[in-house]
């Protein structure tokens, strides 16, 4: 029996719920460790970033206004969809990271579980980060966490799926929208994740995923005045970090990077506290 000829996938960007190629027409070639060709993912340009930010901004208030229950269910739905694609993710990860299928499957399962963990936070943030404040006077005063707005996320090179999920899930679950830049070296699971997201009822524009070079795009993330926060966990070079922070100061972006175990602080880092006063009287 002759082996069936594979139908290859074209890996594209994920912007505003659609899968466009880069407006620049650029791609870059991925080869596996043995040198065989894998794919030509898109090399996103600053204009692709701009389009993604526009989509993210347009989607933000609607997403933030969805109930926390609704957001939680949609995030959980994404985990459900991921679970059905373990094979596909594992094949891509093992191919690019040079690890065994078994190890890759473990990473995917961990990533899916991580996603489930985040999904459950959507309706509990007010309980851990909100407060009623006992002020001295006839006022009711309370503090609530609110989403920041549009957040850029530069995902780490390593742990291409898990790292990306840590970049996306904690940001969007609270009502932010995100423009994420996937691992340059291993972008395929990112696009597969985009396909999962596209079939999970997440409104278009809430999550946008780009593939490309961080050295090229990071400065544009940093300087974009309509990006409110930036996760630079995936940026390692100290000089680039400093450059991003200098540039991000122009609109006082909330710029963070994270290490260690996932924690609600990672979610809260891209939230604002709003405090409301109202008199008490008859």
């Amino acid at each position: 029996m002759s082996e069936r000829l594979e139908v290859r996938k074209t890996y594209k960007l994920y912007i505003n719920g659609a899968f466009p190629r880069s407006e620049s027409g650029r791609t870059y070639e991925l080869r596996s460790e043995d040198g065989s060709f894998i794919a030509n993912p898109c090399l996103a340009s600053r204009k692709d970033l701009r389009d993604a930010v526009t989509a993210a901004r347009a989607a933000q208030s609607g997403w933030a206004n969805a109930t926390a229950y609704n957001r939680g269910q949609i995030l959980y739905r994404i985990a459900e969809m991921m679970d059905g694609r373990i094979d596909q993710f594992a094949r891509e990860i093992s191919l690019l990271d040079g690890i065994s299928r078994k190890e890759a499957e473990m990473e995917v399962r961990a990533a899916t579980d991580r996603w489930v963990w985040y999904a459950g936070w959507s309706d509990k943030l007010g309980a851990i980060a909100g407060a009623t404040n006992p002020v001295s006077g006839p006022f009711y005063n309370f503090t609530i966490p609110e989403p920041l707005g549009v957040v850029g996320a530069i995902a780490p090179e390593r742990k291409s799926l898990l790292g990306l999920i840590d970049a996306i899930a904690p940001v969007i679950l609270s009502g932010n929208t995100v423009v994420a830049l996937a691992s340059t070296r291993a972008p395929l699971p990112a696009i597969t994740l985009a396909e999962v997201i596209a079939t999970s009822d997440l409104p278009k524009g809430v999550c946008n995923i780009l593939t490309g070079k961080r050295g090229e795009l990071a400065p544009w993330f940093a300087s974009h005045m309509d990006i409110d926060g930036l996760d630079i966990t995936g940026v390692e070079e100290p000089s680039l970090i400093a450059e991003i922070k200098v540039s991000g100061a122009q609109n006082l972006k909330r710029i963070h990077s994270f290490e260690g175990h996932p924690s609600p602080q990672r979610i809260l880092a891209f939230m604002e506290s709003k405090t409301i006063w109202h008199p008490i009287g008859v």
């Binding site: 400093a242 922070k245 200098v246 996932p262 602080q265 008199p279």
Partner: protein
């Protein structure tokens, strides 16, 4: 007297003793200081004293002293004992409240009614509130045994000199940090009096250091390699410069910056209290308030009524001697600030907005500006966009709630906002839509140590007050968040 007028009711200056010259407060004692500059009473232009201009060396000495105090004493002390020191400070501030109030009004120009009834009691309350946190840091929200940062460099503005000092020093000390604080150039005196309070409280030397000076002194502090944490309240411009300066480092910063708050009046507002809220929103502290309600958004169908009442009310504002207990609006803090207010107001005239001020006599000397409103302002006007930081209100109208929110949010700032309506659901709706860190509904310009304060967008980073504010002075021991 043929009608009932208020005779002058001056608070006595005799309660304060102002030295002819001051040094810095480093390692528990006052230094001599090398170069000095004058500090004025802005209501008379009288020179009150000579303030030391902090140099790089002096900042260095202060940071060293804070470092030693941190390593050897403060970080090792139990939370309970740190708390006791803060309680002592709170009590001494209460005991010497009148002295602080008079000195603050002299140096800043704010009415004694405000320094006596707002600034000083709130400052003491901040120490009292944070004292209680010192031995309860495990409940700050960062898990068990969170750590202080180390040495905090703190730079404060001239609009609430003592109150901003307390917003900075109290949480820093409660969390276990030591501090080097730089007061604003024009208002150092109450910080130096606070240094005496630290001495009376027998606070260990070096835990609090105060270096006076100008912007260069502040820059020396920000750029000092021995600083672990920056807290700054001031202009957005300087805040951004600080953010850039610390970009190559891992220093954490809390920034409380500018604002251009919208005060939105819906047609179902409680009108009389709303007029008071508008007045308090923009004329409290001469409008030298980062969260001032400087943009008044009136629903069109009640705009005339509210404006008419506002003008009647503004005519009753008593402008004059800050030490007169009946003064409502005191002196502008400096010639520089007065020039800025004039410049922006003149821009309002030039851009076609209509200026109105009540008749009122201004003193011959000192820095003064009448309470002023501009009507016919549009979003494109400079006075609609730029922070004036003076007693100048820009008035807009809107037709629908959506339009109000859109206009209110149409600014790079996001510190505070006001909502006036007797309809609960509308208040909650608007609160949700407004991009601002503090929302005052049917009130304005209220502050409390238990209430987090701070802004969205270009109004800054982080919060001050409450558990949220305390967290800024701590790092979690188990939490994987790295606040770059």
């Amino acid at each position: 007297m043929r009608t009932f007028e208020y005779a002058p009711a001056l608070e006595s200056r005799s309660i304060v003793t102002i030295g002819s010259e001051y040094g810095h407060f480093i390692n528990g004692s006052f230094t001599k200081g090398r170069n000095h500059f004058p500090t004025l009473d802005p209501s008379t232009e009288e020179i009150l004293s000579q303030i030391a201009l902090g140099s790089v060396d002096e900042v260095d000495a202060a940071v060293d002293s804070a470092r030693v105090a941190y390593e050897s004493i403060w970080s090792k002390m139990s939370g309970r004992d740190r708390g006791k020191y803060l309680y002592r400070i709170a009590r001494i501030m209460q005991e010497r409240a009148r002295e602080f109030a008079v000195l603050e009004s002299l140096d800043n120009g704010k009415p004694i009614r405000e320094s006596r009834d707002v600034d000083v009691p709130l400052a003491a309350a901040h120490f009292f509130y944070h004292a209680g946190w010192a031995d309860k840091l495990d409940y700050a929200g960062l898990g068990d045994s969170p750590h202080p940062h180390g040495v905090a460099g703190q730079i404060i503005p001239w609009n609430f000199p003592l109150l901003m000092l307390s917003w900075k020093i109290a949480p820093a000390l409660a969390a276990g940090n030591t501090v080097v604080l730089k007061p604003a150039e024009t208002t150092s005196l109450t910080a130096l009096l606070f240094a005496q309070v630290c001495q009376q409280a027998e606070l260990p030397a070096g835990v609090v250091n105060i270096v006076t000076g100008n912007g260069q002194t502040g820059a020396a502090l920000v750029n000092h390699p021995g600083i672990d944490k920056i807290a700054f309240t001031g202009s957005t411009e300087v805040g951004k410069a600080i953010a850039r300066a610390i970009a190559p480092t891992s220093i954490k910063a809390t920034l409380e910056l500018g604002g251009k708050a919208a005060n939105i009046v819906f047609d179902d507002a409680p009108i009389d209290e709303c007029v008071e809220g508008i007045v308090n929103g923009i004329f409290f502290n001469q409008g030298h308030v980062c969260c001032a309600g400087s943009r008044l958004l009136l629903q069109e169908n009640i705009a005339d009524e509210v404006l008419a009442k506002l003008k009647v009310r503004m005519a009753k504002i008593r402008v004059g001697n800050p030490l007169d207990k009946n003064t409502d609006l005191g002196a502008i803090n400096s010639q520089e600030q007065l020039n800025k207010i004039h410049e922006l107001s003149n821009a309002g005239d030039a851009e076609g907005a209509e200026r109105w001020s009540p008749e009122c006599e201004l003193p011959g000397r000192g820095y003064w500006f009448r309470p002023t409103i501009f009507t016919g302002v549009t979003q494109a006007h400079r006075i609609a966009q730029e922070e004036i930081f003076g007693p100048v209100l820009s008035v807009f109208t809107f037709r629908t709630p959506d339009e109000a929110i859109e206009k209110a949010n149409n600014t790079p700032y996001g510190l505070s906002a006001g909502i006036w309506s007797e309809k609960g659901s509308k208040i909650l709706w608007a609160s949700q839509k407004l991009k601002a860190g503090v929302i005052w509904a049917n009130t304005f310009n209220k502050f409390d140590p238990a209430s987090p304060f701070g802004g969205y967008k270009e109004s800054g980073w982080g919060r001050e007050g409450g558990r949220h504010g305390l967290m800024a002075y701590l790092r979690g021991s188990e939490v994987g968040v790295e606040n770059e």
